[in-house]
């Protein structure tokens, strides 16, 4: 039982990391229909920005704020400068753009900051001992990650559901033509979607760095799980992204724990089998809207 609970906590902690990155992926997908493979490397780039800010002596929270703002600008700029060039051609073309962005951010980070990892956290908010009840422990590191994830999700929820701006964003995602007709600046909304997605990605990156450390490959594999999480939950559903991330984190941990060792390790295979099974039942993810069919 202790082991089960411990695995559950661990699964939720790593799952929330996937969830926040997936949230960014969903925001971007809703904006331009791009499945953003570059999300991880863009987050990594933001992490390095935060590191650079802090290495000039800036405090943690100001550096985070600066990073979020720069990520917002970076995402919006990427949409405006690059993604818009392939708008309306084909979804696959925007996928190529995403792969291109992946390579560009990967290369830029390597060029600017070099290949060595950087010392980055855990910061005071995330450090301090662990509290244990019986054999089950939760550390400040995981607790901090959970708290930030929950706050981020809540803030985004408020933004989308309780502000005019959020309404405009949702309207643009739902129906671009109608939004334009009612006077929403659609182009600006698309850039904002990318900006928001990138900023949320930066948060995911800073969280990931607390437990994974900071180097060029930190987000290389996180993003794969985040993409899976976004698809599992439904690519156009922020709630889905969070749920999807948590499911993947927990399922992977439990599969790793309860597979007989004679079989060998199979946690990844089980996690993806679960995704495929869920998609069999709900082809647009758990919370996704069905794709409209047109003749």
């Amino acid at each position: 039982m202790d082991l089960f609970l411990q695995q559950l906590i661990g699964g939720i902690a790593s799952g929330s990391m996937f969830a926040i990155l997936a949230l960014g992926i969903v925001l971007i997908y809703r904006s331009t229909g791009t499945l953003n493979f570059a999300q991880g490397q863009m987050a990594m780039f933001s992490m390095f920005v935060a590191w650079s800010a802090m290495s000039t002596g800036m405090g943690f929270w100001p550096a985070v704020l600066l990073t979020l703002l720069s990520a917002l600008a970076m995402g919006a700029l990427v949409e405006w400068l690059i993604v818009r060039r392939v708008e309306g051609t084909s979804d696959l073309n925007s996928l190529i753009v995403a792969m291109g962005l992946f390579l560009i951010f990967d290369g830029l980070a390597l060029y600017i900051w070099g290949p060595l990892p950087k010392s980055f956290g855990p910061f005071s908010f995330f450090s301090g001992g662990a509290s244990c009840v019986g054999g089950v422990c939760i550390g400040r590191l995981n607790l901090g990650i959970l708290v930030v994830s929950i706050v981020t999700t809540a803030l985004l929820y408020l933004l989308f559901q309780c502000t005019r701006f959020g309404l405009a964003l949702r309207a643009t995602a739902l129906n671009r033509l109608a939004s334009r007709l009612v006077g929403i600046p659609v182009g600006r909304m698309l850039s904002t979607g990318w900006g928001l997605g990138t900023a949320v990605g930066a948060i995911a990156g800073i969280l990931a760095a607390q437990s994974l450390g900071l180097d060029i490959r930190t987000m290389f594999f996180v993003v794969l799980f985040a993409l899976a999480a976004a698809v599992l939950g439904g690519l156009d559903s922020p709630v889905g992204a969070v749920v999807g991330g948590l499911i993947i984190g927990v399922v992977k941990n439990l599969a790793g724990t309860y597979t007989p060792s004679s079989v060998g390790s199979i946690d990844l295979a089980v996690a993806f089998a679960v995704i495929v099974l869920v998609l069999m039942v709900r082809p647009n993810g758990i919370f996704g809207r069905p794709v409209r069919m047109r003749v």
Binding site: D2, L3, Q6, Q7, G10, G11, A13, S14, M17, D106, G107, L110, P115, L116, P117, K118, S119, P122, S127, G129, A130, C132, G135, C137, I138, G139, R140, L141, N142, S211, L212, G213, L214, D215, I216, R217, T218, F220, F221, V222, L224, F225, K252, N253, G256, T257, S261, G264, S265, D267, L268
Partner: protein
């Protein structure tokens, strides 16, 4: 057949154009090597010898590019200060495979068949090099000092006479660390963590052999390269009541494992780790306090020993020839390989042939490179240059040597290879 004439034209014309463009474009724009009489030995002219390597300058493991760059820096230093080796300067071609095996195949074959390298030096990465090792063998291309400790390179020199290892092989390293565990923690419970490939499997083979029956192995966990963290694995060992953990993982993975144990579980279980992750990368990723007290193996001097004249010289060398701020474990390793190649070329003499090079590489005796902690010895039946080192313990973010020089020489390769590795 319903293929119309037009379609045929397209298919055939397309294929032809493809072949021709492909061949002509890539080659045509570059230099036109004049079709002069071919040198009898590939890559060797009167004043130059061409060596090549495949490395990962980009991609997820780009950090290891520093090894190839440091080797190159050392060769440039040799060319400049000593005029090369035996009157020939060394030209070093580095190809970037991004850690993708199919690309390694393309690039290594290009190095051999088009750039006509004399020998491949320090190919980087087990999965990448596995894809080309037999090709080099069959074509008689010396495959010197591969940059991983997989036993695959050294376990059967008769079947693979061309390939040589460079770092202590993972089984041998595991034996030394396993013996340390057996002596330090007798009667306790041991947990194993390893990457689910031959890197991890080799290490665990060695650990088991070294530990013998001094400890009970109560937990065995593996992870994949693309696992994000090892928290789940550590939790399981924690629940199994493990007293000490032996881990074979990359610096990134090891950092997540020890961080989770220390910060999320308040668990100060001792870690014994492969030298692959006992370097500055781990310190930067996990922080010096977290890794305090972990034990590993060191076979070269460390970058922080700046009082040692040779280490100081190394820092100067990477500053001058590589443009780096400072040396580190990876660049030190690069210099060690560079010196080893220099020594091999020197022994091979002025009349370079590939056979002569292999002969030279097989007859290195008591060679001390400037930063080595032990002698390098090879023979026709021993392609594993360094067979041991010192135990090192992390103190304040540095792995400091303790105890005497330990070696697995004599235990390996010989008998163990066949029985333990018959997988």
């Amino acid at each position: 057949m319903t293929l119309s004439g037009k379609a045929w034209t397209w298919v055939v014309a397309g294929l032809l154009a493809a072949m021709f463009l492909g061949a002509a474009c890539v080659e045509g724009v570059g230099e036109f090597p004049a079709p002069v009489e071919e040198a009898p030995v590939p890559g060797v002219t009167d004043d130059e010898v061409v060596l090549g390597t495949h490395s990962s300058l980009t991609g997820p493991v780009a950090v290891y590019s520093q090894i190839a760059l440091a080797i190159n820096a050392y060769f440039e230093y040799v060319n400049e200060t000593k005029g090369g080796v035996n009157g020939r300067t060394i030209k070093f071609l580095i190809e970037d495979d991004g850690y993708s095996p199919p690309k390694t195949v393309d690039l290594v074959r290009k190095l051999v068949e088009e750039d006509r390298i004399f020998a491949l030096v320090n190919g980087f990465g087990t999965p990448t090099h596995l894809q080309v090792v037999d090709y080099l063998q069959e074509n008689g291309v010396p495959d010197l000092f591969v940059a991983t400790g997989a036993t695959e390179w050294v376990k059967d020199p008769e079947a693979r006479p061309m390939v040589f290892g460079s770092i202590p092989n993972y089984v041998g390293e595991g034996i030394i660390l396993g013996q340390h565990i057996a002596e330090t923690y007798p009667g306790l419970k041991l947990g194993l963590m390893s990457q689910n490939d031959d890197f991890g499997a080799d290490g665990m083979t060695g650990i088991r052999r070294g530990v013998g029956d001094a400890l009970d192995i109560v937990g065995e966990e593996t992870h994949e390269v693309l696992d994000v963290d090892l928290a789940s694995q550590v939790d399981r060992l924690h629940a199994a009541g493990v007293d000490v953990i032996a881990i074979w993982a990359t610096p990134q993975h090891f950092a997540t494992a020890i961080k989770h144990a220390r910060l999320n579980l308040n668990w100060d279980v001792p870690f014994v780790l492969s030298l692959v992750s006992a370097n500055e990368l781990t310190v930067l990723l996990a922080g010096p306090e977290v890794i305090e007290g972990t034990v590993s193996l060191g076979y070269l001097k460390s970058a922080f020993e700046i009082d040692d004249p040779n280490v100081a010289k190394h820092h100067k060398l990477v500053q001058d020839y590589m443009g780096a701020e400072n040396g580190n474990t990876l660049t030190l390793y690069g210099q060690y390989v560079g010196e080893l190649v220099e020594e091999t070329l020197r022994k091979a003499g002025r009349d370079l042939t590939r056979e002569g090079l292999i002969e030279a590489a097989e007859s290195i005796t008591e060679f001390w490179c400037s930063i080595c902690l032990g002698p390098v010895n090879t023979s026709p039946t021993d392609h594993d240059p360094v067979q041991g080192g010192f135990l090192v313990r992390a103190e304040g973010g540095r792995w400091v040597r303790f105890g005497d020089l330990v070696t697995y020489e004599g235990v390996l390769p010989g008998d163990m290879m066949v029985e333990d590795l018959a997988r």
